[in-house]
């Protein structure tokens, strides 16, 4: 997906219900403690879903699971997938109807084993790009968030990169925020991924 095709809503700006297969990304300014941040993001999530579904907050078929909140059932004729991420007093909320979505945010920063981590988990193509990048830290953050967003979209945990890995087709969105947060946000949307498969039994 092109950057222009994804609108970032800054909460409390209310996003419109997206058409099936399209994602919306909501940025929520949060407290610096993770616990409070999660509550604030969930509050925003509840209000958005209440607005979209016309249900009262207590009636929302939201289920808290190990992977985060899950919308039970359909919304306007399609499933709804939710993905959350937190970084630097920012909560990120990705919502997608009729497809799986994963979002990940990370503060751009330098750490000594960056290339080694990239080699192990992101693959040689990323290592190659990092060694040539003008700003390797930003490059790493972009690649890492993309990887995590992809895995979240597939509801999988972190795994080492493998040349035999089959990358499933997903649509990408990645942005480096041009503000003081130094944040990179990536979102992956997989329209082929069945909603049934995403919920742990």
């Amino acid at each position: 997906m092109n950057p222009g095709e994804v609108s970032i809503y800054h909460w409390p700006q209310m996003p419109a219900l997206p058409p099936a297969g399209r994602s919306v990304l909501v940025r929520v300014s949060t407290d610096d403690t993770r616990a409070v941040a999660r509550k604030q993001v969930r509050s925003a999530l509840g209000k958005i879903l209440a607005n979209w579904s016309g249900l009262a907050a207590v009636e929302l078929p939201l289920l808290e699971t190990e992977q985060g909140p899950v919308w039970r059932g359909c919304l306007a004729g399609a499933s709804l997938d939710i993905s959350l991420s937190y970084a630097a007093n920012e909560g990120w909320l990705a919502l997608c109807r009729g497809a799986a979505v994963g979002v990940d945010a990370m503060v751009i920063g330098v750490f000594p084993e960056m290339v080694d981590v990239a080699r192990l988990y992101l693959g040689p193509a990323v290592v190659d790009s990092l060694t040539q990048a003008a700003d390797p830290a930003e490059g790493f953050a972009q690649a890492w968030t993309a990887r995590e967003a992809y895995l979240k979209c597939l509801k999988r945990g972190l795994v080492e990169w493998s040349p035999a890995e089959i990358l499933l087709p997903v649509e990408w969105f990645s942005v480096t925020l041009e503000d003081a947060t130094g944040l990179v946000v990536a979102m992956a949307t997989g329209s082929h991924i069945c909603q049934d498969a995403m919920i742990m039994l």
């Binding site: 999660r38 699971t65 190990e66 059932g73 080694d116 981590v117 040689p124 509801k155 040349p163 498969a197």
Partner: protein, 1320 residues
């Protein structure tokens, strides 16, 4: 919704009936395989009867429950069957269950005893029930007197799950239910007695029934996985293949981590958790059934099943036969299709209820509104949300009740709270799930009892004694009081937002107790500065670890070679620091056990071997010189005197040339057998006697021009004569071969161009010799590498630029690709049957090929004569050196000056003759041709010309003249294209775009050849595209414009490539960006001035003619010096000695000339970047070219594998340590290479210290550490450091900027760490 009605599956039977029936019908059929032990069904039935008898004598009877607590293994399953045979129900415990929980469950089930193993008796001391060791039960050796007393409705087993009351709840399943389930599910799965079933589940997990008891039902064989294998995806994949497992039951998470295609597994049954759609798509393939099952324990393992199909979403399918499902609302009223509600299951699989919990049983097992009789009167409320489509399938949408899932485990929070509240010192406690350290975790809030101050650590230990690890709170928060609602209930919502006082678990620093702990804690200290680290701390819960921190920790630890195979799964699995350290220590021990012990280096042996090699090398130099010196002699013998006729001299000279060339084949065969004999597989000391024999055999094997036999019937004959076993209709192009005696090629195999059979290589101070076996109708494509002890099964295929490392094999019919080679899903295009020809035509073809080889040989010698004539004419009309007394140096100088224009004449004549030949032949067309056709012969003839030109006109390549030369051969070459020593070209079918760049050793447009057919397709390289060193571009490839195919890379499929892309590796990976070297103007890279073109043209013209001129001048000088000896002593030993001496002097002189030229023209190589159209690059390329065309063939090639080669390379600037083994001369920027002591560089490998990128030559350093072993055809790019003791596998590509940690093993393009066999 109901499953199909199958009354035949509803039988009044018990589990022992199923086992006993199979034991009687198939007593010899293997039932269990546990390590080296195989237990047949008859034996299993007898053992179960013995255990049942012993238990019966101890009072076991129908309706009772007996605990089952043994480690994984055959005894566990014997005990399980034995308990069942006694009429009792078994209550299984996982091996890691705390004693406290065992006690609670046994008490809850009113168990009468527990069956364990002798080794575990001490740890079970204190249990309130009798404990028996299975070994003791078996030792009584007395079966039960009467058949099993159980009835179908008696309990068969009890499984406990987390319960909300604080006590785990036991689910009781009857024999009737479970027996029906086994038959019902297998009616769909279709497992048979021919299957080998993987047994990996704990018996405490009811999916183990699908593995164990369905196998017993049908008589299949169970392969019991050892504990180390469970949860290790890499090892699991290898094991499944090795053990020929056909049926795999597994949770999707485990299978998703397996990269292997699991080609031998015909049935995969997934369950226990949701199956990702992507995983299903990956697993589904023709010939394999993949199922997704759903079912709570309360419905006897599974209630529904879906067969997964490609392109279809994953669901939980339809109810099993005789089962039913419905969706109800909150009032338990059935909902219509498509509505979302709670999923209910009914049918014969329902549990008897919860043990001792009638109220809970009544709550969950309720009246079925769709009941048709007593058989389906009840239904079970699963607590899962679901939707049933009209006509099915069923979609499961997650949990509906208050259970939570922590790391995949279903957990009742109330159970933890109840245990917590029972602890001394706890007044009131409550447990909630709340975010902690980046993830949801269990957090316990505790109000201390009066005058008590329990610590979090004390409570953790107390709970750990009673609860499984996944039910332990990550944090214990001590509070003065718990927030409460108006009703008086604890306000759990408020607890979820209550601020926490997170502290480290202990205040004092911990001193690591082992080296492994020290390494781990040092790495952790960097990630968690200032935190107190203790072995009991949980990486995630106590330290706040998350995925990036796991990645960083693993990355740090893998820098230490001892832990190079540590993975994120190890951290996720172990969690606690002490356990992580334990896993690391285990990895280290296993690594030490698998690392090859290094043979001790003996200086005396090395010196002796070097001495022996020094003695025989002049013989090979003499033979090498004889090739060109003999016809040289003959020509001059028959010229110079009045009356001599030039054409007669030319004829005699040509005849001598051909005889000398082809005599070498005879010399090679005789020499190999006389001097080296037959070599046997094994490991032999480096520099020892067998090593010397192998080295000598290799020199003989490489003596003749084997390329002249490529793809002809003569090649198999030559290989057979050298000791290989080669079948009929075998087609072999150019190959390298370590040990011909150990090569077997079966009928109909096709071996491509420059395939390397490296079945002899040096590693860890030893020469390793092993067989290579190629099956019938196998295809090994070009640029593939096979090491020792490898095999390819019948009709299988190893694709181009792929590597099969030592010990690996390809099963019959499979296609493998990549470095390292892995199975692909490719299917080879079916070709017509192999074309057949008669005996006469076969021999006629062989003769034609022989004649063509002679023509090609002569082609590159014929233009020598105009050069001779020119020199002789000038000499005769000027100094008349032959008849003068001029000293040798002056004579050489004179001839050298004359030889320069003569050499130029030689090059021009060669090009003209070749071009004439090419234009005389019909044009090559694309298509499919028989290997007996004229088109095939023509293609091979042109290939030999190209091969010959690479040897005889080496200097032409990578010069401004190369495009012209290639155009003469029919290649369409665009403007400003740069072409180095490319291989495998089919000239008329190759097009190189404007400004394209083909680097050294690239394989370009190589044809497909198999089954007696050759398939030719046009190949095109787009404008400004780059094909890197050693890259492989098969024919039919169309590389778009501005694409970079990296070093040692296999070109991707056409539909994968887009303009502007960069690809690297085999199989190729798309790189996101390419390095842009800026700061150089186009006038120095792509668009040079005419002056620079002239300058480069002059330098390169000199570099082309100089080697030829040197050869000619040396030839004349040797004639002058040796001719008098021939006249005085005749053509005997003295002349031979003199020629050998002359040859050695010539070889050394050639080498010293290159050394001098290198230091004068280039000086010391240092890391730098230089655009192509600058003098530095021209001179550097000239030195490289002269090194390859003069120094290597005349001297260094003879020194490969001898102690002398490192000395020679030191003169050129390479920094080489002591005791280094070098079987390669592939080094260019000499000063940029450092090789540590006792390093071993095998054949065709080398450091690549420069690359051309966008017409800019970039040079960097390569450091190869002490005792490094570099495998065949491995390439180490610049800016790399290879640590001490590192092993690099075959065809490995170490990418730019890599730093490989010491004592690690890498292979692949690009290089990736190898997890050693046996490493967990």
């Amino acid at each position: 919704m109901r499953g199909s009605r199958r009354p035949d599956l509803l039988r009044p039977e018990i589990l022992p009936d199923l086992l006993n029936t199979t034991a009687k019908c198939r007593p010899l059929q293997p039932a269990l395989i546990w390590g080296a032990r195989t237990i047949a069904y008859g034996e299993l039935g007898e053992a179960a009867a013995l255990i049942a008898g012993a238990l019966g004598r101890r009072g076991a009877m129908t309706g009772q429950v007996l605990g089952l607590f043994l480690p994984r293994g055959a005894e566990l399953l014997l005990a399980q069957a034995g308990i069942s045979g006694s009429g009792s129900a078994w209550l299984p415990f996982d091996a890691g269950t705390p004693l406290e929980r065992i006690q609670v469950c046994l008490a809850s089930a009113q168990a009468k005893g527990l069956v364990t193993t002798r080794a575990w008796l001490p740890r079970l001391h204190g249990l309130s029930v009798p404990v028996w060791a299975v070994e003791d039960l078996l030792a009584e050796n007395k079966p039960l007197g009467t058949p099993c007393p159980a009835q179908p409705d008696d309990p068969a087993y009890v499984i406990f799950t987390s319960g909300s009351t604080g006590t785990p709840k036991g689910i009781v399943i009857s024999h009737r239910s479970i027996c029906h389930f086994l038959r019902s599910e297998n009616a769909v799965l279709g497992i048979t007695e021919k299957d080998r079933v993987y047994q990996g589940f704990s018996v405490a997990f009811d999916m183990s029934f699908e593995e164990i008891w369905i196998s017993y039902l049908v008589g299949a064989t169970l392969w019991i996985a050892p504990p180390a294998l469970v949860g290790d995806p890499d090892a699991l994949a290898q094991t499944l293949a090795r053990e020929r497992i056909t049926v795999l039951h597994a949770v999707p998470t485990l299978v998703s981590l397996i990269q292997d295609p699991l080609s031998g597994v015909r049935l995969i049954n997934l369950g226990g958790e949701a199956c990702p759609d992507a995983l299903a798509q990956r697993l589904v393939r023709p010939g394999r059934a993949v199922f997704n099952t759903y079912g709570p324990t309360e419905t006897s393992v599974s209630a529904s099943l879906a067969e997964l199909k490609a392109g279809e979403p994953v669901t939980i399918g339809l109810p099993l036969p005789n089962y039913g499902m419905l969706v109800v609302d909150e009032n338990r009223r059935p909902l219509p299709a498509g509505a979302v509600g709670e999923l209910c299951v009914f049918g014969p699989g329902l549990a008897l209820g919860y043990l001792g919990m009638p109220q809970l049983t009544a709550e969950r097992f309720v009246a079925n509104p769709l009941a048709t009789g007593t058989a389906d009167a009840l239904m079970y409320l699963t607590g899962d949300l679901a939707r049933i489509d009209p006509g099915g399938p069923v979609h499961c949408l997650g949990r509906a009740d208050n259970q939570v899932k922590i790391r995949g485990f279903r957990v009742e929070l109330d159970e933890i709270s109840a245990v917590l509240n029972a602890q001394p010192g706890v007044g009131t406690g409550a447990v909630v799930v709340r975010p902690l350290a980046g993830g949801d975790e269990l957090v316990a809030f505790v109000v201390a009892a009066k005058n008590e101050r329990p610590s979090g650590e004390t409570l953790r230990q107390a709970l750990a004694a009673r609860l499984p690890h996944y039910m332990l709170p990550a944090h214990f928060e001590m509070v003065a009081e718990l927030p409460r609602l108006a009703s008086g209930k604890i306000n759990l919502g408020a607890l979820r937002s209550l601020p926490l006082q997170l502290k480290a678990a202990a205040e004092s620093a911990y001193v690591p107790q082992s080296e492994t702990e020290a390494v781990l804690f040092a790495a952790l200290a960097k990630l968690f500065p200032g935190r107190v680290l203790r072995p009991a701390a949980d990486f995630f819960d106590d330290l706040g670890g998350h995925s990036l921190l796991v990645a960083r920790l693993v990355s740090r630890l893998r820098q230490d070679g001892r832990y190079a195979s540590l993975s994120v799964q190890d951290i996720y699995r172990e969690r606690r620091l002490g356990a992580i350290a334990g896993a690391m220590a285990a990895l280290h021990r296993q690594k030490a056990a698998t690392m090859p012990a290094r043979a001790k280096m003996s200086t005396a042996r090395r010196s002796l071997c070097g001495l022996a090699q020094a003695v025989v090398i002049p013989f090979f130099v003499l033979l090498n010189m004889a090739d060109w010196l003999a016809p040289f002699f003959v020509y001059h013998y028959f010229t110079g005197d009045p009356g001599d006729r030039i054409w007669v001299a030319v004829l005699y000279s040509l005849a001598t040339f051909v005889v000398a060339r082809f005599l070498n084949f005879g010399v090679a065969i005789a020499g190999k057998w006389l001097a080296a004999g037959r070599l046997r597989p094994g490991r032999y000391p480096l520099w020892g006697v067998t090593y010397f024999r192998w080295w000598l055999a290799g020199r003989f094997f490489e003596l003749p021009d084997v390329y002249l036999l490529a793809s002809t019937p003569w090649m198999p004959l030559y290989l057979r004569a050298m000791g290989a076993r080669v079948g009929r209709d075998v087609m072999i192009d150019t190959i390298s071969l370590g040990a011909p005696d150990l090569l077997t090629v079966a009928d109909g195999a096709s071996i491509g161009t420059f395939v390397n059979f490296e079945n002899a290589r040096v590693e860890a101070g030893e020469l390793i010799l092993g067989p290579v076996s190629i099956g019938r109708e196998v295809v090994v494509e070009s640029y593939a590498v096979m090491e020792n002890d490898t095999a390819i099964g019948e009709s299988a295929q190893l694709r181009g630029q792929s590597a099969l490392a030592a010990g690996r094999s390809i099963p019959a019919g499979e296609i493998w690709d990549g470095a390292p080679a892995r199975k692909t899903d490719r299917v080879a295009e079916i070709l017509p049957p192999r074309p057949q020809i008669g005996f006469a035509r076969r021999w006629a073809q062989a003769l034609v090929f022989g004649a063509a080889a002679i023509v090609v040989s002569v082609l590159f010698f014929l233009p020598t004569f105009p050069a001779f004539m020119l020199i002789d004419w000038v000499d005769a009309h000027t100094l008349d050196i032959f008849d003068s007394e001029l000293n040798p140096a002056a004579a050489f100088g004179f001839f050298f000056m004359l030889a320069i224009p003569a050499a130029a004449l030689f090059v021009v004549c060669t090009a003209l003759v070749t071009a004439a030949l090419r234009w005389l032949l019909p044009h090559q067309q694309p298509g499919r041709f028989s290997v007996h056709s004229f088109a095939f012969g023509r293609k091979k003839f042109m290939a030999q010309i190209l091969d010959g030109s690479l040897r005889e006109l080496h200097g032409l390549y990578a010069s401004v003249y190369a495009p012209t030369w290639l155009r003469c051969l029919g290649v369409k070459v665009g403007r400003n294209a740069e072409v180095s020593t490319a291989e495998g070209m089919v000239p008329e079918l190759l097009e190189l775009g404007d400004d394209s760049f083909i680097a050294d050793g690239a394989m370009l447009g190589d044809e497909e050849q198999r089954g007696g057919w050759m398939i030719l397709q046009p190949t095109k390289i787009g404008s400004r595209s780059f094909v890197g060193n050693g890259a492989y571009v098969p024919d039919g490839t169309v590389v778009p414009d501005d694409v970079l195919i990296g070093v040692q890379t296999r070109a991707p499929e056409n539909d994968q490539m887009q303009p502007g892309q960069t690809w690297m590796g085999s199989p190729p990976l798309l790189l996101p960006a390419r390095e842009q070297l800026t700061g150089f103007p186009e006038s120095l890279s792509f668009r040079p001035s005419p002056l620079r073109r002239v300058g480069r043209g002059l330098v390169e013209a000199l570099r082309i003619v100089l080697p030829l001129a040197l050869v000619i001048a040396a030839g004349y000088l040797i004639i002058i010096l040796v001719m008098p000896l021939a006249e005085d002593y005749g053509w005997g030993f003295t002349v031979a000695n003199a020629l050998a001496l002359a040859g050695c002097v010539y070889g050394v002189a050639s080498f010293l000339f290159v050394v001098a030229l290198k230091w004068v023209l280039v000086g010391r190589y240092r890391p730098r970047a230089a655009p192509m159209w600058t003098a530095f690059v021209w001179f550097s390329e000239a030195v490289t070219n002269l090194y390859e065309s003069l120094a290597v063939p005349n001297l260094l090639d003879h020194l490969r594998g001898t102690p002398a080669l490192p000395w020679a390379l030191r003169l050129l600037g390479v920094k080489i340590g002591r005791g280094v083994y070098l079987n390669t001369t592939d080094i260019t920027e000499f000063d940029c290479v450092t090789i540590g002591d006792e390093a071993e560089l095998n054949s065709l490998c080398g450091p690549q210290t420069h690359l051309f990128e966008d017409r800019v030559m970039k040079i960097g350093l390569v450091e190869i550490g002490r005792r490094v072993t570099v495998g065949p055809r491995a390439t180490i790019l610049y800016d790399t450091q290879v640590g001490e003791g590192v092993r690099l596998g075959p065809l490995t590509l170490v990418a730019k900027g890599e730093q490989l940690p010491a004592h690690t093993h890498w292979e692949g393009a690009p290089a990736a760490p190898v997890r050693e066999a046996g490493e967990a």
